[in-house]
């Protein structure tokens, strides 16, 4: 009897510990409420807005850079803007964060959804409550007021291909890599890149494997790249959509002793790609500055909140670098903020 009681108590403790473990991610959301009630005055005395931004992964330097931009925007405008997000790239956890936020008194929600489809119900709920919803990295997404992209996905894919073609001398075999075959934007970029290659670089050839899945995991990108190089020793290029693909492939290239003969180009961030930008296996990486897109999303939300939605048309200047003349197509807005980072300028971008 005593033993049974003891084990029950321990069971309860275990469950409690588990919920605390999971609950750790929710606490920042609730602390957000206290800070937002404190600051309701704006610098210019106009109406104050509370704008919450939800990123993909709070442990990622990329998302921290996004946060920097949002915080800078808050400082410049005096609006109450803050960033929340899951502590790991986990869609269920991100939805939980969104659920918690819409229960609070916010005016706008800027989201970088991990899985846009899965976010639909919660964002529909937010819009029912009158919250302005702006999404990012989810082109063609419907459950939002506007979706803002740093660039047109097709242009980005083509820009990546141009850089790869230059590195490969416009000829030779190459392969594309994505996080998952189900990642919308990654596959859009790669489709555009491949179409562009067929048109502009006829001497380049996509190997029959076409697209490799690396699950946003650098170790996996490295292993898969090694395998590809073994099967196609004459391969000359890797085009990666995930920011872990080019450095993973570059590590494989360096280790196999093929530096300078094989090149890995694609999405990348200086903090991760730095050693390979230096070794030359990543001749360059492409990205956009999340600080600027974070600012632009908030700016767009404010425009809608202020009732200036009719001004949102092609050619609009958001007053942010790369978003000085955006293209509007229905609810899709795209800027022209493609950033090419190489050995020379990588020190300027701390993310």
């Amino acid at each position: 009897m005593k033993k049974k009681l003891m084990s029950m108590v321990l069971c309860v403790l275990l469950i409690a510990a588990m919920t605390v473990g999971c609950g750790g991610q929710e606490t920042p959301a609730s602390t957000g409420t206290t800070s937002e009630t404190e600051s309701t005055d704006t610098a210019d005395g106009g109406e104050s807005y509370t704008i919450a931004t939800v990123v993909k992964d709070m442990s990622d330097p990329w998302c921290l850079r996004h946060q920097e931009g949002v915080e800078a925007y808050a400082e410049e405008t005096g609006y109450n803007c803050y960033v929340k997000g899951p502590s790991k790239t986990d869609s269920a956890e991100q939805i939980q964060v969104l659920e918690n936020l819409i229960e609070q008194d916010i005016d706008a929600l800027c989201v970088v959804p991990i899985d846009p489809e899965a976010c639909k119900p919660v964002l529909a709920k937010a819009r029912e409550k009158g919250i302005v919803v702006i999404t990012h990295e989810a082109e063609g997404f419907e459950e939002c007021d506007y979706d803002l992209e740093a660039f047109n996905n097709q242009e980005y894919g083509e820009a990546m291909m141009d850089e790869l073609a230059e590195a490969m001398g416009e000829e030779g075999k190459y392969v594309t890599m994505v996080a998952f075959l189900s990642s919308t934007s990654h596959n859009q970029w790669m489709d555009a890149a491949v179409a562009h290659q067929k048109e502009a670089y006829p001497n380049m050839e996509l190997i029959p494997e076409e697209r490799i899945e690396c699950e946003d995991n650098m170790d996996m990108a490295y292993n898969k790249a090694k395998e590809i190089i073994k099967k196609y020793p004459d391969i000359k290029g890797f085009l990666g959509a995930s920011s872990y693909d080019p450095p993973g492939a570059a590590k494989a290239i360096d280790e196999l002793g093929m530096t300078g003969q094989i090149h890995a180009v694609g999405t990348g961030v200086p903090s991760v790609s730095q050693p390979y930008l230096e070794s030359g296996s990543n001749p360059c990486v492409l990205c956009w500055d999340p600080a600027l897109s974070g600012k632009a999303m908030c700016q767009l939300a404010v425009m809608i909140l202020e009732g200036n939605e009719d001004q949102i048309q092609t050619g609009l200047d958001l007053g942010i670098e790369g978003y000085n003349s955006v293209t509007v197509d229905g609810t899709n807005i795209s800027g022209n903020a493609i950033l090419v980072i190489d050995k020379e300028n990588m020190a300027d971008y701390a993310f």
């Binding site: 469950i15 473990g21 442990s59 502590s87 790991k88 946003d216 395998e227 099967k231 280790e255 002793g257």
Partner: protein, 346 residues
């Protein structure tokens, strides 16, 4: 007689599959038996091989542990971060000792809960793995560390030897941490084969009540296997950092299932009481052969997960079939004996 005994051993069949698969890959790509591919293969075995040998002990004792990848993750991140904050410049071995200690402590938590709660260990370790993950994310504020502290970076660049295959001009280097794999395999092999503790682990896995009656300290053995698995997990975590040259906390995503599958593939009974470290190693080798050579085999990306799953099921089926048929033999022997007795009575 000797051949007959060999045919009964699960290891024999796993080894056979490995040989056939290697020949198949070589026939298909001409790339398998090249010096650099073999070095790469050995290198890719380091992390899963170490984890599997730690987990093998847990499985042999009739328990299961799904928290070891998270133990590895926690140790990997906390020590890399600590070194980074401290700007540590001393010998790298201190990191491994720390990782071993933290890992063993985390493992011991599982062990203590398992020994005294008497709950299914799957549930316990599912709980603790969530805690370890939450702790790494919440308390330690995990992030990607792409520039390693000097001692780890030095180790990352330390290779035993390099080979270059003449045909393709591809080179590969054997990383120093292969010694850690060899040491782990030898230690686990020694404990399981030559010590009373090892006998005790098999005994507890076979039948805990009987083991207790014989005089084994079941609780102590349970705590030991989990602590040891945690220790190996911790060391493995740091090893992965030196292999990858960076620290990303999703390195071990999905490892719990593939490593358990590898151990079972290697002939360990999931219910405990049997298996060998050699079999476990072969199981890992087979898993890696499958997962790392799908491209060389020419299987399209869309099909790779399906193929991995089918091959695992096939492999496990072979060992399960052998188990069932062995059992049937025992039952039929008993029946035969009973028949014989009846016949004698008549």
């Amino acid at each position: 007689m000797k051949v007959k005994r060999l045919l009964k051993r699960n290891e024999f069949y796993v080894a056979l599959i490995i040989v056939v698969l290697s020949l198949l890959i070589h026939a298909k790509s001409g790339q398998f038996f090249t010096a650099n591919n073999l070095v790469d293969l050995a290198r890719s075995l380091i992390v899963p091989g170490m984890m599997a040998s730690g987990l093998f002990m847990v499985i042999a004792s009739g328990n299961i542990d799904v928290s070891f990848p998270y133990t590895a993750m926690l140790c990997m991140f906390s020590i890399t971060k600590l070194f980074q904050i401290m700007d540590y410049q001393g010998p790298v071995i201190l990191g491994f000792i720390l990782a071993a200690v933290i890992g063993a402590l985390l493992g011991a938590v599982n062990g203590v809960l398992a020994a005294w709660l008497k709950l299914p260990t799957l549930i316990i370790t599912l709980g603790t793995c969530t805690i370890y993950l939450g702790f790494t994310q919440g308390v330690l504020k995990s992030s990607v560390i792409s520039v390693l502290p000097a001692p780890l970076a030095d180790m990352a660049n330390t290779n035993l030897f390099s080979v270059r295959s003449a045909a393709t001009n591809l080179g590969s280097s054997m990383h120093i941490s292969i010694f850690l794999l060899i040491a782990t395999l030898l230690i686990v092999g020694f404990i399981m084969r030559y010590t009373m503790l090892g006998r005790g682990i098999y005994a507890v896995g076979g039948d805990p009540v009987a083991a207790e009656r014989v005089g084994f300290n079941v609780k102590a053995i349970t705590v030991f296997v989990f602590a040891f698995c945690g220790l190996v997990g911790g060391v493995t975590g740091l090893t992965q950092v030196t292999l990858s040259g960076m620290c990303q906390i999703n390195f071990f995503d999905g490892y719990e299932m593939t490593i358990i599958a590898a151990v079972v593939l290697g002939g360990a009974n999931i219910a405990g009481g049997s298996g060998s470290v050699f079999g476990t190693f072969l199981g890992v080798l087979l898993m890696k052969l499958i997962s790392n050579n799908l491209i060389l085999l020419g299987i399209p990306t869309e099909w790779s997960k399906l193929m991995t799953g089918v091959l695992i099921i096939l492999g496990v089926c072979v060992s399960a079939y052998k188990m069932v048929s062995a059992e049937r033999k025992v039952t039929s022997n008993i029946l035969k004996a009973a028949d014989g007795e009846e016949a004698a009575h008549e």
